[in-house]
Symmetry: C2
Subunit: 343 residues, 2 copies
């Protein structure tokens, strides 16, 4: 067992972990390990928004994005997912990951900035870019199994051994290297500015992003039934609550998304991704709101019934981004899209 | 709203609270406030153990204790409760509180030490004394309503205003004054020594005690039905788990007790009291074990259905005792009684 914080990012704590040194988690979990030379990573969410089925404009936008994502300093990994938002719009989001800010900057200048360019205004589909470029001190990952990387972990050197800091509330904070010495408190308020045809977010310091997913593609019939009937409906209710009523508790936006394959077909993976005013607001919801307590309870029952036989894979990545690590632009999107709710 | 830690016990934190300064709990809770001159309190559990219904010996022991509890430097408050333990013995425990160690010492020398005196050996009933005398820096209380003191709070000057540090995991630790600067980690291991006919515990540093109770005497018919059918069975399963399987997770002993009136009749109050290796072990069970997650989920559902109309009263007191603040003696008790499990 090892610490979730790798040696080269460990510092003298002025803020203590929630668990004692002899704490032994009740089940194994793993974190992504980057090369020590990796200083900063990039997580970029490129969204397309439309009503109903994709129009010709939507299909061609996606085809252009597909091409862009293979060009130049292309992302090391990307995937795509879809959900229907609270205003009834379909949103198809392509999520790309880099482990070098320089490579991202090169790619973005050449192929990425065009995604929300003014020339696309009035095309009948909305577009948005939501990009974080956190220093490696500012995010953490967690995986229930070491053999199924998702998200930024696909770019990592590999997975850790079993880590100590998990399976208790506050574990995410304890896994974030910067939290060794920093309270990660939010500062300032996000606001909206208009730049050409686009709405851009003037960011708030220490904004929090979570992507938290499940993959049931390996489950057999009985486990699949349990996931679908006992867990998924409870998860959905929690996701719907955050989408519809999250703002009051610091959740600017929540998207409960189904992953698509390269042909746009749904696969047996889903994830929630949400923007939060602070890690603290996310912690409070997770640990005390009835909707997440229900999710946690359903997941605990499921996992305690199945034990190590469970084939469901779970993962998440949580980032607390400095103001200068954020970029948000919205073109022709409705006014409750993503971080526009925060403005 | 105020801090759970009173001004005169506040110190420069070297260990941070889990919540930011602007945290607002979702519902009100209150803590007991002692006079600043109160430096140390005493919580004394005097147990009687027998099979079946009380014999003449048991009844006369209780009558003697009743008298003792009114004599000399008598406790400021005491109550009595009963439960059947894992070995099938009935245990009637009288719990007495003082807010002065000196007064307790006077009383104990004159009237208390006799409870487990060797002369009672072989009487056919077991007796035990479990006494903590914590400095006020070493315990905390929490109440769902400010008008129903229980336990040590009956001796307090009054209740606080609504406090900030509650309704999140880790709140108990954040309310304990000593936790501002101390990790409250356990040191050493408890062991058993024989003193005459008695078994005495050589204590372990930073042993943890929780008494956590509920009072449904004010509930109307529908709320009472909800408590009895939706909450109590889940609570009982958690209490049974701790009683029967707690040792593996650091719970030496758990008693799920029903409060008795002065005539030995059950009233509509119950509480769990348990001895733990550490506050950390209690925290881990509370926040992640399926049995307590289920209790928490049931309580959340109950309270969110009823809102401020709920008449159920909840309270607890949690103490982390130094080695020299503990006294345990067992006479003619079975070998899994209380802290004998730890030896």
């Amino acid at each position: 067992m090892e610490s979730a914080i790798p040696d080269h990012l460990r510092s003298a704590r002025t803020r203590h972990r929630r668990v004692p040194d002899d704490y032994a988690p009740p089940y194994p979990s793993f974190v992504a390990r980057h090369k020590p030379s990796t200083k900063r990573i990039v997580m970029a969410y490129f969204g397309l928004q439309f009503r109903g089925e994709p129009s010709g404009a939507a299909a061609s936008a996606l085809a252009q994005l597909d091409a862009a994502l293979e060009q130049g300093s292309a992302p090391g990994h990307w995937d795509r997912a879809r959900y229907t938002d609270q205003a009834g719009f379909a949103n198809v989001i392509s999520i790309a990951y880099w482990d070098s800010a320089q490579r991202f900057d090169n790619w973005f200048a050449a192929s990425g900035a065009a995604w929300t360019a003014d020339l696309h205004a009035g095309s009948g589909v909305g577009r948005f870019s939501e990009v974080l470029r956190p220093a490696v001190e500012r995010y953490e990952t967690l995986f229930s199994a070491p053999d199924r990387a998702e998200g930024i972990a696909v770019l990592a050197q590999g997975m850790s051994d079993m880590v100590q800091e998990h399976a208790y509330w506050g574990g995410a904070r304890d896994r974030i290297p910067l939290a060794q010495t920093d309270d990660l408190a939010p500062k300032g308020a996000a606001s909206i500015e208009r730049v050409g045809s686009r709405l851009r977010i003037k960011p708030q310091h220490n904004l929090c992003l979570i992507r938290s997913g499940q993959d049931w593609s390996d489950t057999d019939a009985e486990e699949r039934r349990m996931y679908r009937e006992d867990v998924e409906p409870v998860l959905r209710r929690g996701m719907d609550f955050l989408r519809d009523e999250g703002l009051a508790i610091g959740c600017y936006s929540n998207r409960y998304m189904t992953v698509l394959d390269r042909h746009g077909k749904q696969v047996e993976k889903s994830f929630g991704m949400s923007w939060w005013k602070s890690l603290a607001a996310l912690e409070r919801w997770a640990e005390s709101h009835p909707t997440h307590v229900a999710i946690f309870g359903a997941a605990m029952q499921y996992l305690s019934k199945l034990g190590p036989a469970a084939r469901l894979k779970l993962y998440h990545e949580v980032t607390v981004a400095a103001a200068d690590e954020q970029f948000f632009e919205y073109l022709d999107c409705h006014d409750r899209t993503g971080m526009l709710s925060a403005g």
